[in-house]
């Protein structure tokens, strides 16, 4: 993917660009909002990472102007401001995700991959599939090798989030945001126990585990043959 990083803080910018390159992406840099806006309008990118507080032109204003010009490139806002209303403000400007600083690179990459996938998938999905696991979003049903699995509503929602991002990292914070709509991390590792319950239903009874723990970051769902 070709990704534009609009960030005035040199250290953060270098950190993101280096990480992106290491993960096999092409990263371009812009230091100011004006520069970022210009490049996003004239060049083709798969995604934009935009800092909220930029000199000359703020991040939110940049996103607003791009959306007015019908630029639909997925955009992630980076910000030190993390209160709920500030997040809402960020998303209202037209961005696709909002990540509070400080962040880990794994989290940023997971979110970028997730929004790119979401934006590119135009049609509404009614069925999700990972390996031999099938999810019917209309019947609210999960089947493994055709056998129906008894699953609680909350587990269904967790599984849905994981399956929609199959092959990609989903962090605990992302799960808390998407399943429970919380923007805080509880002190106790509550998400892990939910995952282990889910595992006991879809991984343990079958030979190949689908849910993989990524140490220190979160989880990834992938079919057995893609597993390293």
């Amino acid at each position: 993917m070709r990704i534009l990083v609009v960030e005035d803080d040199e250290h953060t910018r270098r950190f993101i660009v280096k990480g992106l390159k290491e993960s096999g992406h092409l990263a371009e840099e812009a230091e100011t909002g004006i520069d970022g806006l210009h490049r996003a309008r004239t060049e083709e990118f798969d995604a934009l990472i935009v800092d909220r507080m930029l000199p000359q032109l703020g991040g939110l204003e940049l996103v607003r102007q791009l959306r007015e010009d019908n630029v639909v490139t997925p955009i992630l806002i980076l910000s030190a401001l993390g209160e709920v209303n500030q997040r809402v403000e960020g998303l209202k400007s037209g961005s696709d995700d909002y990540l509070q600083k400080p962040f880990s690179f794994a989290e940023l990459l997971a979110r970028i991959e997730s929004i790119v996938r979401r934006v590119n998938k135009k049609e509404i999905e009614t069925r999700l599939m990972v390996g031999e696991l099938h999810m019917d979003l209309i019947k609210r049903e999960v089947r493994m090798r055709g056998k129906k699995i008894d699953i609680r509503p909350i587990e269904f929602r967790i599984l849905e989030v994981l399956m929609r991002s199959s092959g990609q990292l989903v962090t605990r914070t992302m799960l808390l945001e998407r399943v429970w709509n919380y923007s805080f991390d509880p002190q106790t590792n509550v998400v892990d126990t939910h995952i282990s319950r889910l595992r006991s239903k879809i991984d343990v009874p079958f030979e190949y585990p689908l849910i993989h723990t990524i140490r220190g970051s979160g989880y990834r769902m992938s079919p057995p043959n893609e597993d390293e």
Binding site: G19, N85, W180, Y182, Q187, V190, R197, G216
Partner: protein, 487 residues
């Protein structure tokens, strides 16, 4: 003291006000001085009237005696007195209120316009007697009148001569005067109370502004000022001083706030860089399989974990600061209390089950809607549940209740832990306070309850800690509800 306070509580507000009490004291002193002046006036004027009466009586005695041989011979013919008195048998009510009576040795009537020797005396004042007696008016009416008189024993005969005056008018005057005195005291007192009320009302109206301002300051708003009405009195001085004081406090608070924000920012940035560097290091080590590098990776991951927990503590401090300093940034919405509680217990359910802890919820059947910042309140309750899980032993019970108690909606989290000694209930709300062994034996940063307190303050809730046996109950009281139902 205790009783006095209890009684004072039942009095209307105005009677408890300091200014009112001062005014009443002033009014009482004023009334007392009025009473003193009127009393002096009373005694001195009636003393004068009495002396005048006595002087008239003495003149009468002299006139009677002057008509006899007494002065020259030293003997008295009582007949002469009798003749003299017979001429004045009736009282001339207006012009001459004089009364006379001549009796013999056995107190038998000889002459005069009094019928009988007085049997009961009202008052003896030296040689003067006062009594009530029947008097004959010139129009032949007989009336009981008060009399003041003097008695002269006629030297050689043993006859007694009583000469006096009808003092009915003086007595009436006296009664009138006393009535006047009584009413003027009552009127003065009533006027004084009214004045006291008025004065205290004026004073308390001005103090009300100061009090209202103090409350807004207590709630954290330092921007309000008291208006000064330019009369230059002490209240204006007070208001001016308070305004200046607030100005100064505001400057200081802002300075401190910006300093701590700077510190927060300055520390967070290098910490983030440190964390990012470690992150990069961990990633570059990720694919290496030799043993020593694997160890290095593990050490790096531990360091990342430590940096993360430092950053989380920082985030918590900053979040508390944001909640406290800008309560306006809260996004208050109508939220179903039942849903909010159930979502949280759903999140915590599996971990409680894993530790064999029963997690009960009790929610009111009306599914009350409360006005809260959902995320902030959820975080506060999550902190309470984190604590409850930390301190409840295996097999214990944690319960979350959202219900109306005494007509007010409250949410309570109870655990099965050891509780907190009552004397520390205030202490644990402060930042970074951890009790006893907790700081060594359990993870945490001592900010959990501070955040609960900050969220409560933002929502104007009351936080009450209660030791139940076993365990601790934390109650968040006085939620604003959308449709207040009476429990």
């Amino acid at each position: 003291m205790f009783r006095g306070r209890q009684v004072a509580r039942f009095l209307p507000n105005i009677f408890r006000r300091y200014t009112f009490v001062l005014s009443v004291i002033y009014a009482s002193l004023f009334c007392a001085s009025i009473i003193v002046v009127l009393t002096i006036l009373y005694f001195s004027s009636f003393q004068f009237l009495r002396e005048q009466t006595d002087q008239r009586i003495d003149e009468d005695v002299f006139r009677i005696v002057a008509g006899t041989d007494w002065p020259s011979t030293g003997t008295v013919n009582t007949r002469e007195i009798k003749d003299y008195l017979d001429n004045r048998r009736r009282i001339h009510s207006r012009s001459d209120p004089s009364v006379y009576l001549l009796v013999d040795q056995n107190n038998r009537f000889v002459a005069g316009n009094l019928h009988r020797w007085p049997s009961e005396l009202l008052h003896v004042d030296g040689q003067r007697l006062e009594f009530i007696s029947q008097v004959y008016h010139e129009d032949d009416t007989i009336v009981n009148h008060p009399i003041r008189a003097v008695v002269v024993v006629v030297a050689n005969t043993g006859f007694k001569l009583l000469v006096g005056r009808d003092i009915l008018e003086i007595e009436a005057l006296k009664r009138g005067y006393l009535r006047l005195l009584w009413w003027s005291v009552v009127a003065t007192f009533l006027l004084a109370i009214l004045g006291a009320y008025w004065v205290s009302k004026i004073a308390s109206n001005r103090l009300k502004k100061v009090n209202a301002l103090s409350r807004t300051v207590m709630e954290g708003d330092l921007t309000q000022r008291i208006e000064i009405n330019a009369s230059g009195d002490q209240f204006d001085d007070l208001s001016d001083n308070i305004n200046q004081m607030l100005e100064r406090i505001q400057t200081l608070v802002e300075a401190i706030r910006s300093v701590s924000n700077n510190i927060a920012h300055d520390l967070r940035t290098p910490l983030t860089r440190l964390r990012n560097n470690l992150d990069e290091l961990a990633r570059s080590l990720a694919d290496r399989s030799d043993f020593e590098l694997a160890q290095a990776r593990e050490a790096t991951e531990k360091s990342i974990y430590e940096a993360d927990s430092l950053l989380r503590t920082f985030e918590a401090v900053l979040r508390i600061a944001r909640l406290e300093n800008s309560p306006d940034s809260a996004s208050i919405d109508e939220v179903s209390a039942t849903e909010l509680i159930e979502e949280l217990t759903e999140l915590y359910g599996p971990i409680a089950e894993e530790r064999s802890i029963t997690l009960n919820t009790l929610v009111d059947p009306h599914s009350t809607r409360i006005l809260v910042d959902r995320d902030a309140l959820s975080q506060a309750l999550a902190n309470l549940l984190d604590n409850a899980l930390k301190y409840t032993p295996e097999g214990g019970t944690i319960s979350v209740q959202g219900q109306y108690l005494e007509h007010q909606f409250e949410i309570a989290v109870s655990d099965g832990g050891p509780g907190i000694p009552t004397e520390y209930h205030q202490e644990v709300m402060k930042r970074f306070v951890r009790l006893g062994d907790a700081s060594r034996t359990t993870p945490g940063n001592g900010l959990g309850l501070s955040l609960v307190a900050a969220v409560a303050r933002m929502h104007k809730l009351e936080v009450v800690l209660e030791n139940t046996t076993p365990g601790l109950t934390v109650r968040l009281k006085k939620f604003k509800t959308v449709d207040p139902k009476v429990g």
